[in-house]
């Protein structure tokens, strides 16, 4: 046992005891404790097992930089959070915590065999070992290695908590609530303007919380801040990222510090803050020292031991040794001695140390060993002693102790400064990078800007030792088990850039993002490369500063709110009539309407037959619609589409094909000319926004002189497609003001009038190949008109049909669906749609590209039909096609199946495909290799039904 509760001191409430569980065992602490402080007070030394080697590890730090003491907190079903740092977990009654990465227990972990086999697991081992046989990697080695290495376990149940989000604007945002940040907030608050101060800890104060001499000032300052109406103080809030133009993301933890029963409301809140000025007051993080045995439980940062004693009233040991290369180690030792923690010795690598520190130490009865270094640590589950030697290489001396504190100097926290692309400059006195020049309106105050007095010191890559690095267990990155020898190995193997060294060794890549390892790693690499640190560089800091929950980043955007669901005005009717829905872009569309006992196959077959034999009705409201108006409307459409538009008379419609400037089909749709200067243009459902954007682009930036304007009317018009031989009979009684007779209203015409008393643009168009109408009515009347059509159609057995039937019927007629039969690389000729190009047109978007060499060369994929030998066999969409099924692998793929259905109309399967030189292969057999079998099919024309189109012209 080493740690114990001091009889007095700390900011804990000794009148409020708390019971909690760790690894199934009961412990006690006090309100104000963290999980870490309460466990240290209870004598726990082993907090976790390391990632790769499963070495027992103790607490290194008391802040978010802690790399070892990773725990899983269980707040109930679905509320298990792994990889939390024990010193950041606020203790509350009933807290249930568990260590990670050990089996069966922390003290006896079978994974420790990895430590014995450590020689096989150096940096980059997976590039050198476990390589034979190759098949064994995927099936044996990798799964075993993944099971043995790792941090916590991912939750497997849904997170029932909800997470809030908010925006805030302020003149001054202060990040960090230590002495410097509080002072900055007071100053800004006094100037007026909105001030937000955020701090990641349970209470503000930062370093002052471990210095009782500052507590009075702290209390008074926080009271002054609270009294300022323009100042908002957020605690338990981490600013995780600093983005362009002073946009800061922060997460406020609202309930994790409370017992689950007492927690209500959102668990966390995401703050999106835009600030006029950002003041960074993030402080500095103490560096560990690199030496053999520096990861034995009980080796801890000196400032962490100070914080435990003075903030939490916990002594880390009964006989403590301090190893320092920096004055702050001495100051922390003296503070501990004053708190009645026994310091056996202070060891300092420097020969000369400030005489005031030496005298104070001697006065406190502490033995001093300047010019010495720790060369070894005794103990495995807990420190039992250290070995020191003069200069690290002289005769060894042993000192018994149960804790070793290390003081390696201080690293200003420049993470958020770097996110905001502030530059850094090296400072020799600090032995670290400091903020240099900013791009944004941001400044640093306090330690993170290099403005703090921790004292002086030296910076060394590793403590000197007679033992070569590769024979030491000297850890640089505790969380990823990276040793100094690994970094030297990376350099020996030829890695020169710090970014490569980082990735090869994984130094700085753990969840702590190298807070205690980046600079030590940089120094070791710099020494191995024999280049100055400033020439080796520094790896990039990236958000998040500390790990954040997915929940906080997601907020309300999950389940039904994950994405907007667009519904037509008729959606409610479809739902009430048992429709099965599918998503098309963001729209919810009825896919089919199963009746009792029907599966999709049966429902679609019934719907298809009904349309071809009598009449069906289909909600086509999701089609994009654009009202194109102006004297130059026809000229504009002429330029945007392949087709000729000027000759189209008012009252007539034309199918339009739209290409991108590179010549590939991007959209299609029927447009009706309502008047000389007015067109009702339609687009595909998924392409509506894209097409309008493309049109606006050309109109605003290429042809601003054209007198035409565009309006999106997609949601304005609902569209009810009535298709089938009885279609006219169904709507005739409902329509006024339009002569529906075949001569007066031919195929591909549009008329305005009224239906059920409401205005309509009635199109005679057909995507099914049957006599058909598309009834456009203002969306507000859509459901009433739909229901009236349904009633009127009952005597003809009118059948509602969905998108699946719509797809099958159009495929039987060989109509393409842009985005399914095309993929952005299909030209009009490829699709067999040369007829849609206005041959006399001088120019249109994409025309020039159709003459590019690759567009006119042979061997392009062409749109064809496929009929399988076995009529019951329905090909899989996306299946690859080959000419010779016997060829060796990898086979030459000559195309793929784009659309494939069972056709109730034909009583067999049909498919559409894109095949190289497809049109020259009419009547030939092609093959579709599938797992386990190969399917033979014959190339045929794309129109499977009523090729003459006689059914359209009733």
């Amino acid at each position: 046992m080493s740690g114990y509760r001091l009889p007095a001191g700390g900011r804990i409430d000794r009148n409020a005891p708390i019971r909690f569980r760790f690894d199934g065992k009961d412990y006690r602490g006090f309100a104000g404790d963290t999980l870490a402080s309460a466990l240290v007070a209870s004598g726990v030394t082993v907090f976790g097992r390391s990632f790769k080697y499963h070495r027992p590890r103790g607490l290194l730090a008391t802040g978010v930089e802690e790399p070892n003491a990773l725990v899983t907190i269980d707040r109930g079903p679905g509320r298990v959070t792994p990889n939390l740092r024990a010193p950041s977990v606020a203790l509350h009654e009933g807290l249930t915590a568990a260590s990670q990465n050990r089996y069966p227990s922390l003290r006896l972990d079978l994974g420790a065999v990895n430590d014995k086999l450590g020689a096989f697991f150096p940096a980059g081992f997976y590039n050198k070992t476990f390589m034979w046989p190759r098949s064994a990697w995927e099936k044996v080695y990798e799964p075993a290695i993944r099971r043995m290495a790792g941090l916590g376990e991912s939750p497997v149940t849904r997170d029932p908590d909800h997470y809030a989000a908010t925006y805030a604007h302020c003149e001054t945002l202060v990040i960090g609530g230590g002495p410097a940040g509080i002072a900055a907030a007071l100053e800004a608050g006094g100037r007026g303007g909105r001030v937000i101060l955020i701090d990641e800890q349970e209470e503000p104060g930062g370093g002052a919380l471990a210095d009782p001499a500052q507590w009075a000032w702290l209390e008074e300052s926080l009271a002054r801040l609270a009294a300022l109406a323009n100042v908002r103080v957020l605690t338990r809030t981490t600013a995780f990222g600093f983005y362009h133009r002073n946009f800061v993301g922060a997460v406020e933890r609202l309930t994790d510090h409370l017992p689950p029963a007492g927690a209500s409301g959102a668990r966390e809140k995401l703050w999106r803050i835009r600030a006029g000025e950002v003041v960074l007051a993030q402080g500095a993080i103490e560096r560990p020292l690199v030496f053999d045995g520096n990861d034995v439980p009980g080796v801890m940062l000196a400032s962490a031991a100070r914080t435990l004693a003075l903030r939490y009233g916990v002594a880390v040991g009964r006989r403590v040794v301090v190893m320092a290369v920096h004055d702050s180690g001495w100051r922390d030792a003296l503070a501990l001695a004053a708190a009645v923690v026994t310091i056996a010795a202070i060891v300092d690598l420097r020969d000369a140390v400030d005489s005031r520190l030496l005298s104070a130490a001697e006065a406190a009865g502490i033995a001093c060993r300047t010019g010495h270094a720790v060369t070894g640590v005794r103990g495995r589950l807990a420190v039992s002693g250290v070995e020191i030697a003069p200069g690290g290489t002289g005769a060894a001396e042993r000192i018994a102790c149960d804790a070793l504190l290390i003081a390696g100097g201080w690293t200003p926290s420049v993470h958020l400064w770097s996110h905001a692309r502030g530059t850094l400059r090296w400072d020799d006195a600090w032995g670290a990078y400091l903020p240099d020049a900013a791009i944004e309106q941001v400044r640093c105050v306090g330690a993170c800007g290099g403005d703090w007095d921790f004292g002086g010191g030296v910076a060394v890559p590793a403590l000197p030792s007679a033992k070569p690095a590769h024979r030491q267990k000297a850890f640089v990155d505790y969380q990823n088990d990276v040793k100094s020898g690994d970094i030297e190995l990376a350099v020996r193997e030829g890695y020169r850039s710090i970014e490569h060294i980082k990735r090869y060794t994984t130094n700085g890549m753990a969840t702590d993002q190298g807070k205690t390892s980046n600079l030590n790693g940089l120094r070791i690499a710099s020494e191995a490369l024999a280049r100055p640190v400033t020439q080796v560089g520094l790896t990039t800091f990236r958000p998040p500063y500390t790990p954040q929950t997915f929940g906080a980043l997601m907020g309300h955007h999950k389940d039904a709110l994950f994405q907007p669901v667009r519904k037509t005005a008729i959606d409610g009717w479809a739902m009430e009539h048992g429709a099965v829905f599918e998503n098309v872009a963001q729209w919810r569309r009825a896919r089919y309407f199963p009746q009792a006992g029907e599966d999709m196959h049966a429902a679609v077959a019934r719907e298809c037959r009904a349309v071809r034999e009598s009449v069906g009705m289909f909600d086509a409201s999701t089609l994009g619609k654009i009202e194109v108006v102006g004297p130059d409307a026809a000229e504009f459409l002429n330029r945007m589409y392949t087709n000729p538009w000027k000759s189209l008379l008012p009252g007539r419609c034309r199918y339009g094909l739209m290409l991108r400037e590179d010549g590939f089909i991007t959209d299609d749709g029927v447009a009706g000319r309502m008047a000389d200067d007015r067109f009702h243009v339609t687009t595909t459902t998924g392409g509506a926004a894209r097409v309008l954007a493309m049109m606006e682009d050309y109109l605003q930036t290429e042809w601003p002189g054209l007198n035409v304007w565009l309006t999106s009317t997609t949601e304005h018009w609902a569209v009810i497609a009535v298709q089938g031989p009885r279609a006219r009979d169904v709507i005739a009684p409902l329509v006024e003001g339009i002569d529906l007779s075949p001569d007066a209203f031919p195929h591909m015409a549009v008329r305005e009038g009224r239906i059920c008393g409401v205005p309509t643009r009635l199109f005679r168009v057909s995507f099914t190949g049957e006599l058909g109408f598309e009834v456009n009515v203002p969306a507000g009347h859509a459901r009433a008109v739909w229901e009236a059509i349904d009633v009127a159609g009952q005597q003809f057995g009118i059948t509602p049909y969905g998108t699946e039937t719509m797809h099958v019927l159009r495929a039987e007629k060989g109509f393409i669906i842009v985005g399914q039969d095309t993929d952005g690389t299909v030209t009009p000729d490829d699709a067999g749609m040369d007829w849609a190009i206005g041959k006399k047109k001088r120019d249109f978007v994409g025309k020039r590209s159709l003459a590019r060499p690759d567009m006119v060369v042979g061997g392009r994929k062409q749109f064809v039909g496929l009929l399988t030998d076995d009529p019951a066999e329905v090909l899989e969409e996306g299946a690859q096609i080959v000419a010779d099924p016997a060829q060796p692998m990898p086979m030459t793929m000559i195309g793929h199946v784009t659309s494939s259905y069972w056709s109730a109309t034909l009583g067999r399967s049909i498919a559409l495909a894109l095949v190289r030189d497809g049109r020259a292969l009419m009547g030939e057999a092609l093959y579709v290799p599938m797992p386990g079998r190969t399917i033979r099919a014959t190339v045929c024309p794309t129109v499977f039904y009523d090729a003459e189109g006689s059914r359209l012209n009733d």
Partner: protein, 90 residues
């Protein structure tokens, strides 16, 4: 998140209100058929991609809907200026 000054709305608005529109001041040739394949390829695909000052287009899709031009530094992401479509290159 960038703040972009829409020259039509005359306000700084958040990046999410806009859509990027590629390099600016590339006019569609008035007679594409007159261009050889290499010239047409250059128009379609070749862009300056500079390190530093970049003249580019943005569209205020969730605002006034207009296209405008901007000069942005591709290294620092600072906007030097924005100006209306049709105005001279800044």
């Amino acid at each position: 998140m960038l703040l972009i000054h829409c020259p039509y709305c005359d306000e700084d608005r958040a990046e999410v209100e806009f859509v990027y529109g590629g390099e600016a001041h590339i006019a569609r040739p008035p007679d594409p058929s007159a261009l050889g394949d290499a010239e047409w390829e250059a128009y379609l695909y070749l862009r300056a991609n500079p390190r530093g000052r970049h003249h580019e287009r943005w569209r205020h899709t969730h605002g006034c809907g207009r296209f405008f031009n901007a000069v942005r530094d591709t290294v620092t992401d600072r906007f030097e200026t924005t100006y209306k479509a049709g105005e001279a290159r800044a």
